[in-house]
């Protein structure tokens, strides 16, 4: 199949007082569709979100409201013809209470989750989607020559630079997060991979500390000053920390320099001017017994000093894609922040995630995307479809693609 022949549709939601409506876009066709009644959805959506924040229930697969959503009221939020015959790719632009609803898990008429039958990418706004597509380096490839899913087809082989790191700050030894990051790095060409922790790299006293999964390593990756650490793909495996009250302070728990090490200043640009600040986290780490010194990489810090031209950022930390809707219908989450920094696509969990299921999903995704040359959304579909064979929807459907689908 040629990428140019992929059937891609978009559904742009609009929530009104009485009813949810949507604009269904497919090629040159534009069609307004009337969907579920808003008053029927408000309470159910709130209860579903609450269920998905209960970590133990999610861990145990006790998610009755999610299952009810999938086979029941979630279906009222998708046009019948999409459920009857899903396109190859569907871009979902939510609005108001639709944000964060796992529409990719709604069952189609065939009884399978939508996200296992078609490639889905979420994007919180149309302009953001437009800028994601404009910035996506994959869009500059020859889409008529790019083929996949064909016997003997010439697969697209791309040389993508990866920066990856994993750290379980709670684990004193046998860090499974680091192992997962190293495992995922195996899908990329060795010479273009920077993997942390890497005890062989870096010099004593070097700033930012090289070879360690420190917050300052990743702020360097996302610093807009021509840092040589900038990458095509970034993958971070870490514990997530969700701040329910101040969402911009949600983040990922990463390593920190040992106490006493003097932290350097860094320069950044804001509104055309150059500023200098000490490279310190914007918030303190939660009070938990960690095995290593810990700092939080927050969305707020990235928005203040960061930029990204990465094609894909993978945030494998609990709830990194979960966020509260702010003014102007803007959801706040780590994943959203990365899209606004300039990343073309982001993969992040919608709720608390299980490390081994995340690892399996990512391996399947990278195999399809990197090795088989499929578009990202199609690769995500393959991963979700495969995991649905072995896991419940709370594990198979926790990771989603945001931004551009290609």
């Amino acid at each position: 199949m040629r990428v140019a022949d992929v059937s891609a549709s978009g559904i742009i939601y609009s929530v009104h007082q009485e009813r949810v409506s949507a604009l269904l876009v497919s090629g040159d066709d534009r069609r307004a569709v009337r969907l579920g009644l808003t008053p029927d959805l408000v309470g159910a959506a709130d209860e579903l979100r609450a269920e998905l924040t209960r970590t133990v229930d999610v861990a145990m697969g006790r998610v009755p409201l999610l299952r009810e959503f999938m086979r029941g009221w979630g279906r009222t939020l998708l046009p019948p013809d999409i459920l009857a015959s899903p396109p190859d790719v569907l871009v979902i632009v939510p609005n108001a209470l639709i944000h964060d609803l796992p529409l990719h898990l709604v069952l189609t008429d065939a009884g399978r989750p939508l996200g296992a039958e078609c490639g889905i990418a979420y994007c919180s706004g149309m302009t953001l989607f437009a800028s994601c597509t404009r910035r996506n380096p994959a869009r500059s490839l020859d889409l008529t020559a790019w083929r996949f899913d064909e016997d003997g087809a010439q697969m697209l082989r791309r040389q993508l630079a990866l920066r990856a790191g994993g750290v379980d700050v709670l684990a004193a030894k046998d860090d499974k997060f680091a192992a997962l990051a190293a495992d995922l790095a195996g899908y990329f060409d060795d010479e273009r991979v920077t993997l942390v922790p890497d005890t062989d790299s870096g010099l004593p006293g070097q700033w930012p500390p090289q070879g360690q999964v420190h917050r300052s390593f990743f702020t360097s990756v996302f610093r807009g000053d021509g840092s040589d650490l900038r990458a095509d793909v970034v993958c971070i495996v870490a514990h997530g920390d969700l701040d329910q009250e101040r969402h911009q302070l949600s983040g990922l728990l990463l390593g920190a320099p040992h106490p006493g090490l003097i932290q350097m200043t860094e320069q950044f640009h804001l509104a055309g001017k150059r500023y200098r600040r000490t490279d310190m986290p914007l918030r303190i780490a939660p009070v938990v017994a960690t095995a290593v010194p810990t700092e939080v990489l927050t969305a707020a810090e990235l928005e203040l000093t960061g930029s990204s031209d990465a094609e894909l950022v993978c945030l494998l930390g609990c709830s990194a894609g979960s966020g509260r809707v702010l003014q102007a219908d803007e959801p706040a989450s780590m994943a959203e922040s990365f899209l606004r920094l300039g990343t073309a696509s982001v993969i992040a969990p919608m709720w608390d995630s299980h490390v081994s299921a995340c690892g399996e999903w990512m391996r399947c995704f990278l195999r399809a995307w990197i090795s088989d040359g499929k578009p990202k959304a199609i690769a995500a579909r393959d991963a979700t479809s495969l995991l649905m064979n072995d896991y419940g929807p709370e594990r198979a459907g926790v990771l989603t693609l945001r931004g551009d689908w290609l």
Partner: protein
């Protein structure tokens, strides 16, 4: 995630558990009890903190404890007290082998999630649920006499933790 933390059965080393492990064990206990009490008002989750404190004060007063706002704040906000309360409840409930096994399963599943614990309030929420369960009629009939006795013992322990015994 931490299958990698200190190893072994948490029931064998309750006093040595880290605060994160205590939190995870309390969260697992809360989840198991809510599941068992599904369909009753006791299973209501996500009570706002202020309402939870009011309900907890009323429930503890019913149990004969002095439960003014200072005492409730102590349970909800003092890390050491919250830890002791959580452990006292977990140990009491864990005497039932069936509950113990269910809690262990939930605990292990919780520890494999890529998230850190969410604060101190879990001890207060767990205590409130337990005191509510004393009064509800659970259809599944799983809360037997042993559970009530365990809860009575728990109240005695709680009294000592709060310096009222």
């Amino acid at each position: 995630m931490s299958e990698d933390g200190p190893h072994g059965d948490p029931w064998d080393r309750l006093d040595e558990l880290t605060d994160s492990e205590v939190h995870a064990l309390a969260e697992a206990t809360l989840s198991v009890l809510r599941e068992e009490a599904a369909g009753t008002t006791a299973a209501d989750a996500d009570i706002p903190p202020r309402l939870m404190r009011e309900q907890l004060a009323a429930a503890l007063t019913d149990e004969g404890l002095r439960a003014d706002s200072a005492v409730v704040n102590q349970i909800a906000s003092d890390g050491e007290v919250a830890r002791k309360v959580s452990l006292a409840i977990v140990a009491s409930i864990g005497r039932d082998t069936q509950f113990r096994q269910q809690i262990q399963e939930a605990y292990e599943a919780r520890r494999a999630m890529m998230v850190v614990d969410g604060g101190l309030l879990i001890g207060a929420a767990l205590l409130l649920l337990v005191t509510k369960l004393k009064r509800v009629q659970v259809e599944k009939g799983k809360f037997d006499v042993q559970f009530y006795q365990a809860t009575d013992t728990l109240i005695d322990r709680l009294r000592r933790i709060l310096g009222q015994g």
